[in-house]
Amino acid sequence: MDHLIGALIGAPLLGAGILLVGGRRLDRVGHWIGCLLAAVSFGIGAALFADMLGKPTDQRTLTSHLYSWVPVGGFRADVAFQLDQLSMTFVLLITGVGTLIHIYSIGYMAHDENRRRFFGYLNLFLAAMLLLVLADNYLLLYVGWEGVGLASYLLIGFWQHKPSAATAAKKAFIVNRVGDMGLSIAIMVLFTTYGTFSFGPVFAHATGASQAKLTVIGLLLLLGACGKSAQVPLQSWLGDAMEGPTPVSALIHAATMVTAGVYLVTRSGAIFNAAPTAQLAVCVVGAVTLMFGAIVGCAKDDIKKALAGSTMSQIGYMMLAAGLGPIGYVFAIMHLVTHGFFKAGLFLGAGSVMHGMNDEVDMRKYGGLRRYMPITYVTFGLGYLAIIGFPGLSGYWSKDKIIEAAFAKGGTEGWILGGVALLGAGITAYYMTRVMVLTFFGEERWEPAPDPDKTPGVEPGIEVHPGELPHPHESPRSMTIPMVILAFGSVFAGGLFSINSAFLKWLEPVTGHSEGHSPVSTWEVTAATLVVLVVGGALAWAQYGRRPVPVTAPRGSLVTRAARRDLLQDDFNHIVLVRGGEHLTRSLVYLDHSLVDGAVNGTAASVGGLSARLRQVQNGYVRSYAVSMLGGTAVLVAATLLMRAV
Amino acid sequence: MNTYVPILVLGALAAGFAIFSVDMARRTGPKRYNRAKLDAYECGIEPTPQPAGGGRFPIKYYLTAMLFIVFDIEIVFLYPWAVSFDALGLFGLVEMLLFVLTVFVAYAYVWRRGGLEWD
């Protein structure tokens, strides 16, 4: 079975190769090739999963050594894969949700002339993401890490003719670079500490390193995770990334890629367990991001950006859980999977709405759509119930556990983290209810479609009739079926996982698990969660459901305005980093010109001058050559004699 | 080192005398030049008239001279072999034949390519 692991990655990689190299002649079949290979990958993943289930718990890890990539002396980097329960979970999520979104994209991108290229990039993303989760060493993981970064960049900027998309792609790439730098330095420190990149030996000897080194490695890994998973302080790119096509937002920027940071922290659990300081930092980052994303999500009028804020916040939950150590790893991953279902479903629903509304993204110009798009309404609604943690649905099972685990951390930290998580659940209910109400309920606030020639922000290929009111309609079958399947996942996944603690037992051999000592009982937490949930939902209903919603957003309070500007994150970055960086580079350039270039040019000039002078000796006269030889011989003989004398 | 002192002294004396003579001749001697005095010295005979434009000897002189040297050296090797012919036996004979053969290869080359034709 182990050689199938290569095929798992190979199928989408092959697809990317065929679609990107094949060129225009594949335009008519390209999307089918892309879907087929994604499905093949899912099929292989399912087969491996079945095989794994048939084995006893302690023999479930599969390894596959492809070849030694860079064997140089003591330095060894292998292309080798490891498929254990954690990786398996990701493989199923990635290929499963990935395949659904491939199918959805057939309809969504039907009018785009570059659909083949789009599917090529999607396949490339699948291959890179699978490589990331299947690598058995940090170096190969890094390759996958950079690969998903590349795919993300290409897909955010897929409509690069829109300046906003091109800028967003650049922004995502640059912000991720900061995180990647952290990860790469972490890997280097790891190697110097343990002498290997491989997970097995590193984790086996994790506690062998000094506390300081472990903390440094942990913090650097966290920096990497922050970049990829859009955690504070590297969160600013995610909102802008919504410029990409909606399936991309669903697959990459909600369900899979952005959770890579959580995977990294969970995978490196052995290191974090040994470095409590770093672990606490993970918790803090998770908690801060949780609140940050939730607040931003409350203020956004753009449906995709509101969902992006929500993604950020939910990943904050996962990060928080992962930072709790063995108490939380399993629940972090469980929430990651359930979130993968309902958030992908929500994004697909948002895409469907946009599809029917002339690509309008402002929720204030929606309203009352439940009558026109019933399937979207139902699936989106189920996703909504799941994310707010409505009892019985997926989100309820996973989020509740995280809140419990946060309290179980114990001490003041436990109370603070648990409180934040609980409050976050309330805010989640508020902003998600707001999205739901603004979109599907209330009166119809539709506006005529903008003129695509004048507004560059419109996705191409979609039939827009300037000046006409939109005619909302249900989306084609290829789009609704994936939404329905995902809705099933949103409803039942969490429950299935929790029957008999199935998910816990499945993942525990890899991540380890401990119960912790919660100062509050389970039913108390559940009750408190339900209370904040109802309060949050009711507030939103009171604000948006009972009163008419103005089409243009009111000025709002200072906090609202700040939240609309993503809590001033870009302003912060601009003032502190960009301006500061500019000053730094300017002074560096000055130094470079005056000192370094001066020295370099000076050296070059003096070498050149010396060269020109030495050339004079080469005058072409054989007699002077002979004299130089004679002199040289004399000097050599004299020097040899002198060596004996001294 | 003492054994070398007389040689060094002799050398210094000789050099000193040479420099002294040349210098004194230049200082004291009358300077009355004529054509014969300014001519190149070629062992007392009339200098060979040089062809215009740089002056080159025909290459044949060199070829003949080199051929002479080649065969001369061949003889130098043949002579000791002849003296010890009995001692060296068959080995010596074969080696010598090979040696003569290679010289004759060169001879054949010169001959066939017209190196022996004077004009």
């Binding site: 030495l614 040289g632 050599l636 020097a639 040899t640 | 290459i59 054949a108």
Partner: protein, 550 residues
């Protein structure tokens, strides 16, 4: 009568013990077969010149040369496989020639270089047709005065100097003995055997004949001068040791030899040893073009026909460094504290001056000449290490460098304008735009010269510097690295010129070579990349071949 002569003879030799017989020398033909094959092929080449009609000579000569060289290489491989490179290595031909690892490795390198060089010698597609006939890079008739009526007549008659092939073979034969020579006279004789054909070859360029002849005369005069110095050194060493055999001299230096009573006055006089040793080394340093004996190099490299320059730059360096290695490792290790500091100085001067002067060169061939000087300095750094690692690194470097050089000069023959090869650097501007393949190949060679990783140059430089550093010559290595950086500047400058400058209008064109030069260039690229990507196998090979027999 005979009796008198006989008594005179014996009296002159030694009055005490009458000489009864000259001992029959023992010659190991099988172990000398590589050299003998090459010389045999050369003699055959002369016969071809003498006996075959003019029109069939070219093919016959090419066939004889290639076959002879290939057979010689096969013989070398057979000897090495038979264990003569390691266990069975010994001194053949009555103490004159060593058959051991370094000798066989270097001979193999020289023969392969010569084989590739023979292809460039035979190239007849580059020059435009002369009166309807394809011509090579060599003068129609060497003896005609440049620009004279005879010359025109020779060109019109379609003469070609096919003698270059036997000359090449004679030079190769001499070069093969040079690093294997195990006594000072064999050293000197082999030096002359390979030098004289080279002087002639240098004079035989078809174009710019005056420049070519000037180069040959310079090379000859300075070469004769250096030979004289070497011979003088040989005489002094004989005076010191009473023997010319390498092993014998080494024994005297270490004090383990029996003194010859007749030479008691001079034997073991250390001044003779030091002066003599230094002078012999000078003779070899001239051949490797080390500073300050390098002055001939640029003039000769520029003037000589480019195929000859390529061969000379590659093979001479291999042979001369081989001889230098053997001299320093077998004869003079006992006085290493005397010569090592001096060689340090030479190596430093060679690296630095070679690299610095190259910066302002404007002619490709002169540039490569100075580059070869700088490389001589790098190799010297490995020679000085005086360790098995030093030997193997130098062997590897020589093999790597010779193919890069050969390939680079072969590329130079391709870039031509109406006046023949366009060697001025300004003419190469924008070559990458017009002939990307040729420019890319040349760039590969330049990167190898500069020692960029994944080329053989990097592996070689790394090995040499590592050996030098382990031998305690860290300052030398630092200076070497700095010189490499300076050198890299002008290699990269040429690459920039080729790829990032606008092509000149009416610039040179790149001639399309026949399979011969293409093969030579391809071989150069292949070896450069093979030794760069997977150097370990060849380093191991050189490591196995790094023990000198004594």
């Amino acid at each position: 009568m005979t009796g008198t002569i006989h008594s005179l003879w014996t009296t002159a030799a030694d009055s005490a013990t009458p000489l009864d017989k000259i001992p029959t020398p023992k010659i190991e033909y099988a172990q000398l077969s590589p050299v003998l094959i090459v010389f045999g092929a050369a003699v055959l080449g002369i016969l071809v010149e003498a006996l075959l009609p003019r029109r069939s000579r070219y093919i016959a000569q090419l066939g004889v040369s290639v076959t002879g060289l290939a057979a010689a290489f096969a013989a070398i491989v057979a000897l090495a496989a038979d264990g003569y490179a390691s266990a069975k290595s010994h001194i053949a031909a009555m103490g004159a020639v060593a058959v051991d690892g370094p000798a066989l490795f270097l001979q193999g390198t020289i023969v392969l270089v010569a084989l590739v060089a023979a292809f460039t010698f035979a190239e007849r597609r580059l020059d435009p047709l002369a009166h309807g006939r394809r011509v090579d890079s060599f003068a129609a008739q060497g003896s005609t005065v440049p620009g004279s009526e005879q010359e025109k007549r020779a060109v019109r008659a379609g003469f070609t100097t096919t003698e270059v092939f036997p000359l090449l073979l004679f030079a190769v034969g001499g070069m093969m003995i040079f690093p294997a020579a195990n006594d000072l006279l064999t050293l000197f004789v082999s030096l002359e055997v390979f030098s004289l054909p080279l002087y002639l070859l240098c004079a035989l360029a078809r174009r710019h004949r005056l420049l070519s002849q000037e180069a040959a005369v310079k090379y000859f005069l300075l070469g004769a001068f250096s030979s004289a110095i070497l011979l003088f050194g040989v005489a002094l060493l004989y005076g010191y040791a009473g023997t010319i055999s390498y092993g014998g001299i080494a024994d005297v230096i270490s004090g383990t030899a029996k003194m010859t009573p007749a030479l008691a006055n001079t034997t073991a006089n250390d001044s003779l040893l030091l002066i003599g040793g230094a002078m012999v080394v000078v003779g070899l340093l001239f051949k490797v073009a080390a500073v300050p004996f390098h002055m001939w190099t640029p003039d000769v490299y520029q003037g000589a026909p480019t195929p000859v320059t390529g061969f000379m730059a590659a093979a001479t360096k291999v042979a001369a460094f081989g001889a230098l290695l053997r001299l320093l490792y077998v004869v003079l290790p006992g006085i290493r504290w005397d010569w090592r500091p001096v060689m340090w100085g030479v190596a430093i001067a060679t690296m630095v001056i070679g690299a610095i002067i190259a910066v302002t060169q404007t002619d490709v061939k002169r540039l490569l000449a100075y580059s070869s000087i700088a490389h001589a300095g790098f190799i010297l750094a490995g020679v000085i290490a005086l360790s098995p690692d030093g030997v193997s690194s130098v062997l590897f470097y020589l093999a790597a460098y010779s193919f890069v050089t050969l390939g680079a000069f072969a590329v130079v023959t391709l870039v031509r304008d109406a006046g023949g090869e366009a060697t001025h650097l300004s003419r190469w501007a924008g070559l990458g735009r017009r002939s990307p393949l040729v420019a890319a190949v040349f760039a590969v060679f330049l990167l190898a010269f500069a020692g960029i990783p994944l080329t053989s140059g990097f592996a070689g430089k790394f090995a040499v510097f590592k050996a030098a550093a382990q031998g305690g010559a860290v300052p030398l290595v630092i200076i070497g690295v700095i010189s490499s950086a300076i050198a890299a500047f002008f290699y990269i400058r040429v690459i920039v010129l080729m790829f990032f400058s606008e092509p000149q209008p009416g610039g040179p064109s790149v001639a399309v070579p026949s399979a011969l030069t293409s093969t030579a260039i391809a071989a150069g690229v292949a070896v450069t990349l093979a030794l760069g990507v997977a150097p370990q196998y060849f380093l191991d090979l050189a490591g196995k071949a790094s023990v000198f027999v004594r």
